[in-house]
C-alpha cells in the first residue's frame, strides 16, 4: 500500500474482525458447512465472519454467490468503480471494516487512492472526475433514500457516460453493500492493528 489514510475513524489499513456471538468450531462443522466455507472465500475457515455466518450454510452459500457475481463479474462497470461505490456506501453506513477492505481493493485495481481519501474526508463531495462524482452521489442516494430514487438520478449517470449495463452493475454494487455492511457492522467489530503513525 502506498500510504496510510486515516480520516473520520476510517482507514485503508488491513483490519481483523471479531464476532460478538459464538462461531462454528471447524472440527464440529458438518460436511455441508465445510463445503460452503470452501466455496465462499479462500480464508473462510479461519475467519470469524464466515465461521459465524455458516451457522446457516445455505443462506451463506446464496449470499456468497450473489456477492461474487456482483463484485467480480467480467465486463460492465469497471471493477475499480464498483469498489469505489462500495467504499462510499460503507463510509455512509459507518462500516469501518468494509470501507477498509474495499478502499484497498480500489487501490489495487486503480493504482491510486486519491478518491478514497476524498471519500473518507467527505463522501458527499468526493470524486476526481464528473463520472466519479456521479457514481458517489448515486451511491449515497440509493443507500440513504431508496424510496426516493427517481429516473432523473439515473439520467445523471447516463449524462457522464455510464451505459445502462454499467448502471445495473452500480445498482447491484450499492445494494449488495446494504447487505454486507449490515453483517459486518451488526454482528461483530473490527480489530485494529497496533498503533502506527498516520499520514
Amino acid at each position: 500500500m502506498s500510504d496510510i489514510i486515516r480520516s473520520h475513524g476510517f482507514t485503508n489499513e488491513s483490519l481483523d474482525w471479531e464476532a460478538w456471538l459464538d462461531v462454528v468450531e471447524l472440527d464440529k462443522a458438518t460436511p455441508e458447512q465445510v463445503a460452503v466455507l470452501e466455496e465462499s472465500h479462500p480464508k473462510a475457515k479461519t475467519s470469524d465472519y464466515y465461521l459465524f455466518l455458516v451457522h446457516q450454510p445455505e443462506i451463506l452459500r446464496q449470499r456468497s454467490a450473489a456477492f461474487n457475481a456482483i463484485m467480480y463479474a467480467p465486463g460492465g462497470m469497471p471493477r475499480a468503480e464498483r469498489e469505489l461505490s462500495t467504499t462510499v456506501v460503507s463510509r455512509i453506513n459507518g462500516c469501518v471494516y468494509c470501507a477498509s477492505v474495499h478502499a484497498q481493493r480500489f487501490e489495487q485495481l486503480a493504482k491510486r487512492n486519491d478518491v478514497i481519501r476524498e471519500v473518507f474526508d467527505d463522501p458527499r463531495t468526493a470524486g476526481t472526475t464528473d463520472r466519479e462524482k456521479a457514481i458517489s452521489q448515486f451511491s449515497i442516494a440509493l443507500t440513504e433514500k431508496p424510496g426516493d430514487v427517481r429516473p432523473e438520478q439515473l439520467q445523471a449517470l447516463r449524462d457522464v457516460g455510464l451505459t445502462d449495463a454499467e448502471i445495473l452493475d452500480l445498482i447491484h454494487s450499492i445494494a449488495i453493500f446494504a447487505w454486507a455492511n449490515r453483517l459486518m457492522l451488526n454482528l461483530g467489530e473490527p480489530v485494529f492493528p497496533e498503533a502506527a503513525p498516520a499520514v
Partner: protein, 178 residues
C-alpha cells in the same frame, strides 16, 4: 435444509415486484447478469424456507413487512403483506408491524426481533453488541440470530435492487434498440 430448487425465470420475485416483463429492455438487461438474479432468488427462497429452524416463517414475514414499510418499499410491502395473508397471524402483531411500533408488541421475543429490525433498517451504525445480545436474551439461538440478521440485511439489498430497477425501467426509452 432443503436442496436448491431449480431457478425458474418465470417465477423471479424481483422481476415480478419491479414489474419487469420478459422481452422488455430492462428485463433483458437484468438477465444479462443472470448469476446475480439466480443468487438473489436463491437467497429469497432460502430465507423464507418453511423448514428453516429457530425463527418461524410468520416471524420472518413480519420482519419483511416491517422492513419494507420502514425503507419504504411499497411494492415489496405489498408482496410480504400478501404472503402474510396466507398464514394465521395475530391481529395486534400485524397491526404493530403495519402501522405501529415494536414497543406495542406484547410478546417479548417478537418485540426484540422487531426492535433489532428497526435499528438495522433505519440506522445500522447503532446496531452494536448490546443490540445484538438482546436477541439471545429473548430466546433466539445463535443460528436463529444469524438467520434474522441475514434476513434484515437481505431485505436492505432487495428493497434497493427493486427501487433501482423500477427507476431504470421508467428511464429506459432504449426499448427500440433492445
Amino acid at each position: 435444509m432443503t436442496a436448491n430448487t431449480q431457478y425458474d425465470i418465470a417465477n423471479d420475485l424481483v422481476d415480478r415486484v419491479a414489474g419487469l416483463a420478459p422481452g422488455t429492455a430492462t428485463h433483458t438487461l437484468r438477465h444479462a447478469r443472470d448469476k446475480v438474479a439466480v443468487a438473489t432468488q436463491g437467497s429469497y427462497e432460502g430465507l423464507f424456507d418453511p423448514a428453516l429452524e429457530g425463527i418461524s416463517l410468520v416471524e420472518r414475514l413480519l420482519v419483511a413487512l416491517y422492513a419494507s414499510r420502514l425503507t419504504p418499499s411499497p411494492s415489496l410491502a405489498a408482496h410480504y403483506r400478501a404472503e402474510l395473508a396466507r398464514h394465521t397471524v395475530d391481529a395486534a402483531q400485524l397491526s404493530a408491524v403495519e402501522s405501529g411500533q415494536p414497543e406495542e408488541v406484547a410478546d417479548e421475543r417478537l418485540r426484540a426481533i422487531l426492535t433489532f429490525t428497526r435499528t438495522l433498517i433505519e440506522n445500522p451504525v447503532e446496531g452494536d453488541k448490546a443490540a445484538l445480545q438482546k436477541l439471545p436474551a429473548a430466546g433466539l439461538t445463535t443460528p436463529a440470530v444469524v438467520a434474522l440478521a441475514q434476513l434484515i440485511a437481505f431485505l436492505s439489498y432487495q428493497t434497493r435492487l427493486v427501487a433501482g430497477l423500477q427507476a431504470l425501467k421508467q428511464l429506459a426509452p432504449q426499448e427500440t434498440t433492445a
